[in-house]
């Protein structure tokens, strides 16, 4: 597995409810933040269109322009959602991938987002194993371990 950004938290609903709210309501809960907005014009209104397998994650900016963030790869209600992630600033051959997992923890759900950015390596045929051995990732590993430890309090 290649290294990635991993962020997780727990929500007080079932995995099915969490999945439905994540996908159906993404236009309502997603909030633009000036420090990391998707484009200079903010994030727009996100939606899965159509909702379900084979759909796409799309956003409509305030000026009416639409941008396809990525295609949906996995749509497993209550379990897993994955989709491509490309922003207007990316080059055409650059794509990253977001994987969202929903796991029951008692009567709550742990939602884990894994965002893999290493797939932007130009040589698509190159096997991408071994990245986790790299120096800067060892340094980052410390950081992730601290991060996830901090989260365990809330998990």
């Amino acid at each position: 597995m290649s290294a990635a950004v991993i962020v997780a938290l727990r929500v007080a609903v079932s995995p099915e409810e969490a999945f439905t709210a994540f996908t159906r309501d993404i236009g309502r809960w997603w909030t633009s933040h000036p420090l990391f907005q998707l484009s200079r014009g903010g994030d727009g209104a996100l939606r899965f269109d159509p909702a379900g397998p084979g759909g796409r994650l799309v956003t409509r900016f305030d000026d009416g322009k639409e941008w396809e963030i990525g295609a949906v790869y996995h749509w497993l209600p209550g379990e897993r959602l994955s989709f491509g992630w490309r922003l207007p600033s990316f080059k055409p051959d650059q794509a990253t991938e977001v994987d969202v997992r929903f796991e029951a923890v008692g009567d709550e759900t742990r939602v884990t987002v894994e965002h893999r950015g290493w797939d932007a390596v130009p040589q698509k045929h190159v096997a991408r194993h071994g990245f986790e051995l790299m120096l800067f990732q060892r340094r980052l590993g410390e950081h992730w371990r601290g991060l996830l430890k901090g989260m365990e309090a809330g998990l």
Binding site: V7, L9, A12, R28, W29, W30, H115, P122, Q123, M134
Partner: protein, 108 residues
């Protein structure tokens, strides 16, 4: 993502080059030493080192005592851009998941 990050990821797309980065992370080495460590012929090692230099990951210089020897080491801040991408992406999802949690638990 920028062209610089593109070049860096391209430089890292080869397992021998990733191993070279690891070795240089421990301490600076000469090309000959790296070639021996990686089991590569000198010309192949030169090609890999050129890719690593172009990727902005590695720099070379001469030790004070011998101008004929070229020593390779990791470039300071080589991976700063990558780290920035990681930090920003992490902040993005921490922020959005927090917003998602608030939305779900408000029972909307």
């Amino acid at each position: 993502m920028s062209a610089a990050l593109d070049r860096m990821l391209g430089a890292l797309a080869d397992p021998k080059r990733r191993r070279a980065i690891e070795l240089l992370g421990v301490r600076p080495r000469s090309a000959g030493e790296l070639a021996a460590d990686l089991g590569l012929a000198p010309p192949a090692m030169s090609r890999h080192l050129r890719a690593l230099k172009e990727g902005g990951l590695v720099k070379d210089g001469h030790p004070d005592f011998d101008a004929r020897v070229r020593i390779y080491s990791l470039k300071d801040g080589a991976t700063a851009e990558l780290k920035q991408w990681l930090a920003e992406t992490e902040a993005l999802w921490a922020h959005q998941l927090g917003a998602f949690k608030a939305h779900v638990e408000d029972g909307e």
